[in-house]
């Protein structure tokens, strides 16, 4: 357990000093700041625009960070041979994978925290005060983090079996497909082909269903998120990540480092 913690902490330290990450955070904060301006030209719905654009910025830039760092988690270690320094020590391979995953999750959580602070600063700047209902966006941000947890698990899995570029393409495709699974299933049913329908149904159940995690618009309109959805999404993400990380560990256990 201590080794997993140490690998996670040093993965975080290494990632947190990456300049690309800072650039993305700055861009995200700029976007959040810009949403104040967009709000000013949208008479009457300034608050909605700010919440909608601000949370979307957190989601998009967080996703970019998750993919950019996630795909290099294992493949870069192999490519640069830094992995020899770790696996030649009494480290079990599953400890390495878990440590790397948790380290990146910690990095993303802290970055999301920084962007959230920027978002609330923008909200305060616009409203001049914060009220109890302003807690609502935190629920949406929690769901964004759950999506990151799943995306990073996919990125880690692909990183174990493929090159960084292909891993990025696959992970991004899964993220996009995950938001349109209902449409995909509907399309399959409409074709009236049992093969296509079977395939889309299979994808519907295998790929992560991110539609249920996307509550940004609802939050912007002041709609509360039910406790049931909180529980269901949390359990879904936990189960999904467990299966993916287990698959990554199985692949990694058999991997050779020439």
């Amino acid at each position: 357990m201590a080794r997993i913690g140490s690998i996670a902490w040093h993965t975080f330290k290494e990632a947190a000093r990456d300049r690309v990450l800072y650039n993305l955070i700055v861009f995200a904060l700029l976007m959040i700041g810009a949403s104040i301006l967009f709000g000013q030209i949208s008479v009457g719905i300034e608050g909605i625009i700010l919440v909608d654009l601000g949370l979307s910025s957190i989601a998009v830039f967080g996703l970019l960070m998750a993919i950019l760092i996630g795909i290099g988690l294992v493949s870069e270690e192999i490519e640069r041979r830094t992995i020899f320094n770790v696996l030649s020590k009494p480290v079990r391979r599953y400890e390495f994978i878990l440590g790397k995953y948790l380290g990146l999750l910690l990095t993303l959580s802290i970055n999301t925290g920084v962007m959230t602070a920027g978002f609330y600063l923008a909200l305060f700047f616009q409203k001049r005060h914060l009220s109890a209902e302003d807690v609502l966006p935190l629920g949406a941000i929690y769901f964004i983090l759950l999506q990151f947890a799943i995306v990073v698990a996919w990125a880690l899995f692909f990183s174990c079996i493929s090159t960084p570029v292909l891993s990025a393409v696959f992970t991004f495709s899964i993220y996009v497909a995950g938001h349109f699974l209902s449409d995909l299933q509907f399309f399959g049913e409409e074709t009236r082909s049992s093969i296509v329908s079977g395939l889309t149904t299979f994808l519907y159940y295998v790929l992560p269903n991110f539609a249920d995690f996307d509550v940004i618009t609802r939050t912007a309109h002041g709609e509360k998120i039910s406790g049931l959805l909180f529980t269901a999404n949390s359990l879904y993400a936990l189960l999904y990540v467990t299966v993916l990380i287990s698959a990554a560990v199985l692949v990694f256990e058999e991997k050779e480092f020439r």
Partner: protein, 324 residues
């Protein structure tokens, strides 16, 4: 009990894009590295040296054969707590400092925070990186990275130190420091296994060597025995030799080359060496030097590898049976 023992260790890699076919990179390797010895793995590039070390460290898996470390099956990860490893051309995390990395390495061995700090400071001093300990590794030169690699291999005070091309990337001073370090480890009764294609390094340091070529063991033995058995001739230098003596030597079939007032003799036979010394004493000729011209490791290596002809068949068979 050997520290490392490999029996019929074989490794194939799959090559080819569409139709994969096996390519043998290590073939039936039988080795036994004893406790406290400095053991050299020698061979040209692609001989199978790094493959052997990576197999021992379970970074790759054998196609066939067995490996035991400290008498136990090599798959037990906890055995690596007693091993330190320097990979060939090591690489580290760009944004961490040397001190941070050494502490990290210490934590992977389960060292307590205080012990990590102490070991990191001691090793940074030992490898000459103390003054740049707080600089990110991305700013290090190749030699500095190599020094950090050596430091991290020693962070757990290992019983077995495995070094893959430890002199690579080092300047002459750095190489000398590594040589001294290996001798220090030997003095501390550690077992050191290192690979190299730089033969003088092995000549200076190794108790025993294994010579690999194209994945096959070509020779295995105590270095002193390999070299001692390879005495090719004795070179005798005499001064102020009279012409009559030279004629007598020529009659005895001993070739002599005169340079100024010195004469250099190349004597093939031990009996002839005695005869020359007898003449020198009798004729009161000054003996300047007498040097056995030994087969160097380089000669041995070239003869084994280039010609593919076994040099000491009998010796090898004897050593290989020890390895088994």
């Amino acid at each position: 009990m050997p520290v490392i023992e490999t029996i019929n260790l074989t490794k194939d890699y799959a090559v080819g894009f569409w139709r994969k076919r096996p390519r043998r990179v290590l073939d039936d390797l039988n080795l036994a590295v004893e406790s406290g010895e400095v053991f050299g793995l020698l061979g040209p590039n692609g001989a199978g040296k790094s493959t052997t070390l990576k197999l021992i460290l379970r970074l790759i898996f054998p196609t066939r054969g067995t490996i035991s470390i400290f008498g136990a099956d090599w798959s037990d990860a906890s055995l690596r707590a007693r091993i330190g490893f320097l990979p060939e051309n090591p690489s580290f995390y760009d944004n961490l400092t040397a001190e941070e990395f050494l502490k990290y390495a210490g934590s992977l061995f389960g060292l307590a925070p205080g012990e990590r700090r102490r070991r990191a400071a001691q090793l940074l001093e030992q490898v000459g990186l103390a003054e740049v300990a707080d600089i990110p590794v991305r700013r290090y030169s190749k030699g500095m990275v190599q020094r950090l690699g050596i430091a991290q291999a020693l962070v757990n005070d290992p019983d077995l130190v495995i070094l893959d091309e430890p002199m690579s990337g080092l300047d002459p001073l750095g190489r000398r420091e590594v040589r001294d370090l290996i001798l220090e480890l030997k003095a501390a009764r550690k077992t050191v296994v290192f690979s190299t294609h730089i033969l003088p390094d092995a000549e200076t340091l190794c108790d025993r060597v294994a010579i690999l070529h194209r994945g096959r063991l070509q020779g295995l033995g105590e270095l002193s025995r390999i070299l001692a058995m390879g005495i090719a001739s004795t070179e005798i230098v005499l001064e102020n030799v009279a012409g009559g003596v030279l004629n007598a030597l020529a009659t005895a079939g001993i070739a002599a080359v005169r340079t100024g007032d010195r004469v250099r003799l190349s004597v093939q036979d031990e009996a002839e060496v005695g005869k020359v010394l007898e003449i020198a004493v009798r004729e009161k000729i000054k003996l300047v030097s007498m040097t056995p011209v030994r087969m160097t490791l380089e000669d041995y290596f070239l003869e084994k590898v280039e010609k593919g002809q076994p040099v000491r068949e009998r010796f090898d068979r004897q050593e290989l049976s020890r390895g088994n």
